[in-house]
């Protein structure tokens, strides 16, 4: 019965990250439009805007960070599995679990905690950029802890799926 609850938790997490990933993937469209807009205003009309440069960095950073967990869900992140491929599926999953606990979670938890501190510092001073436009930096800095959170829950889901596979031999 307990395992059923874990299964439904993993499925819920997968649905969340599938949804978030598909939403955040679209950030690339305004990013492209913005760059084209900038080229036209600056190169063609000779009237550069003060805000496109920073704005495109915000969109770029938000795009690749916020879809990271979605990438993990779809196994998009490069891995060197050429040696473990020789072992059984079971061995592979055990090795990956070791990596999750010794590398993935320490890394993500450090980023999550320090990311929260980093974002709070920015919010508490209403930090803005030094440029002429002077946009607020706190939304962009908040992306770091959100990314870490999404990765953390996706990591939990992956670990659940691996443990269930090891226990029951079923793939979710």
């Amino acid at each position: 019965m307990i395992s059923k609850r874990w299964v439904s938790l993993a499925q819920k997490i997968d649905r969340i990250n599938d949804f978030c990933g598909k939403v955040f993937s679209w950030i690339i469209v305004p990013l492209t439009v913005l760059i084209v807009f900038e080229v036209i205003t600056r190169r063609v009309f000779g009237a550069p805007t003060i805000w496109t440069f920073e704005m495109s960095n915000f969109l770029f950073g938000g795009h690749f960070m916020l879809v990271a967990a979605y990438g993990l869900l779809y196994k998009a992140h490069v891995r060197i599995d050429l040696f473990v491929m020789r072992g059984s599926k079971k061995t592979q999953e055990i090795l990956d679990l070791i990596c999750y606990f010794s590398l993935f979670f320490p890394f993500i938890i450090v980023i999550l905690f320090h990311g929260i501190v980093y974002a709070i510092e920015s919010w508490s001073t209403w930090e803005t950029s030094w440029s002429t436009w002077g946009p607020p930096l706190y939304p962009s800095k908040t992306v770091i802890p959100i990314t870490a959170f999404l990765l953390l829950i996706q990591g939990i889901s992956e670990v659940i799926k691996k443990i269930i596979f090891l226990k029951t031999g079923e793939e979710l």
Binding site: M65, H77, L82, I111
Partner: protein, 441 residues
């Protein structure tokens, strides 16, 4: 613990975990965090946040995202199909002609895309069945598709060169230009090889039978070639031309290029909402794959550099007494060996903090040296057991093609790639002429 000991153990632990099949990005980040916690303590990671934010707030790296989008749009537009069909009949009458046509399409396609997956898969699906049907040997077919497709990441636009520029603090525009002639050189070497082997042994790659060619009049062949060659050539000129003439930065050129590639989808009538959506999603997955490795790597190097441990390894290598060129070739050979096991992003992230200081200490030009490593990495796509091009090809399930054909087929192309490395080493102007001639530096 001495810094040398920590630096070396960081590398050993990294290598061990790397081969356990966990995503590279998290291995880099995780090893960095573990060593950071041991040697620096918890509060050290406030500094790492600044490094991570620096990766997000980086206008040059925006080009990576947009070049990936551009390549995916271009694949969706189907322009490679048309171009290949046109060039096939144009080159058809000569022995090995269809194979040469594939390489030419690859060079043109490479000048429009920055990744290798797109070109290898496109050419594998598109050209390989034709080559096999015309009676090309299986080995030659897979070899030339793998080698030609891998040019996509060397000939600019190239996400690899943008990333290398970022890692070494060089102008992305200049490094992109440095990749042009070496990439074309490799393509020409492939064409010469195909021409010679097929001329000596027509069974390797016969000409297209005359009856088939006669169905298509010469005028029709030329019109088709122009129809499908002009739009990509215009795109190449827009993207690379604007960078070369200093009209646009690589990022701006990539944005305009993506928009132009999207227009090509519309022009060739390939727009379908479902495909468009899937392209946006798959682009996001590729972008995050590349960029999150940078996040992991910046964590790793952040810890690594505070140890001052890089210097220990650099000094040790310089102290081997191999001399200037001995050390150079040793680094090239290390790249070939690493290329057999690790993918290019991993190799760049692991070796650059050590190799670049060595090259500087030995008085090598940084731009040229970085480009040489980029050329060398062409081999990494073809070297078994871990080569992207091999994976893509074997995953496609081409009729009658087995792994042994692929392994045997890439050997001559690996030799040609190495010849390319040697040529560019001793004729550095091949690399440096174009970036030095650039107007917008």
């Amino acid at each position: 613990m001495s810094p040398e000991f920590i630096a070396i153990s960081m590398f050993v632990v990294l290598i061990v975990f790397l081969f356990m099949g966990h995503p590279l990005a998290f291995v880099l980040g995780g090893v960095g965090v573990i060593f950071g916690l041991i040697t620096q303590g918890w509060n050290f990671f406030g500094m790492v946040m600044t490094r991570i934010y620096g990766t997000m707030d980086n206008f040059v790296l925006v080009a990576i995202t947009l070049f990936i989008l551009m390549g995916n749009f271009l694949t969706m537009s189907g322009v490679a199909d048309g171009l290949f069909k046109a060039l096939r009949v144009l080159f058809g009458p000569i022995r090995g002609g269809v194979g040469m046509a594939v390489i030419v399409v690859c060079i043109i396609f490479a000048a429009c895309t920055g990744i290798i997956g797109a070109s290898v898969v496109t050419m594998g699906l598109l050209a390989a069945p034709f080559l096999l049907r015309y009676g090309y040997s299986k080995e030659l077919t897979v070899g030339l598709v793998a080698a030609g497709g891998s040019l996509g990441i060397l000939i600019p636009p190239s996400i690899m060169l943008v990333m290398m520029a970022d890692q070494t603090g060089q102008s992305a525009g200049k490094l992109l230009m440095a990749g042009v002639f070496p990439g074309i050189l490799l393509g020409v070497l492939y064409i010469i090889y195909i021409a010679i082997t097929c001329w000596i042994n027509p069974k390797m790659g016969p000409a297209i039978p005359r009856e088939e060619l006669e169905k298509i009049p010469v005028s029709r062949r030329l019109i088709d070639a122009i129809k499908y060659a002009l739009p990509p050539l215009a795109l190449i000129f827009t993207v690379l031309g604007t960078i070369f003439f200093g009209v646009a930065t690589p990022t701006e050129a990539a944005g305009v290029g993506s928009a132009a590639a999207f227009l090509m989808i519309l022009i060739y009538g390939r727009f379908q909402w479902k495909n468009f959506k899937d392209t946006i999603f798959s682009t996001a997955r590729t972008v995050t794959m590349v960029m999150i490795i940078l996040i992991g790597a910046t964590t790793f190097t952040g810890v690594f550099l505070t140890q001052g441990g890089g210097k220990a390894i650099v000094d040790a290598i310089l102290g081997l007494g191999l001399g200037r060129w001995g050390t150079y070739w040793m680094m090239q050979i290390i790249y070939i060996i690493l290329g057999c096991f690790i993918d290019w992003i991993g190799i760049v992230m692991i070796t650059f903090p050590i190799f670049l200081p060595i090259a500087k200490a030995l008085g090598f030009d940084t731009l040229w040296f970085t480009a040489m490593l980029a050329i060398n990495l062409q081999l990494s796509f073809l070297t078994p057991p871990f080569g992207y091009a091999l994976f893509y090809l074997s995953g496609m399930g081409l009729e009658g093609i087995q792994l042994r054909h692929i392994y045997r087929g890439v050997v001559p192309f690996l030799i040609l790639q190495f010849i390319g490395v040697v040529i560019c080493t001793y004729v550095p102007s091949l690399v440096l002429w174009l970036p030095n001639a650039m107007i917008g530096k």
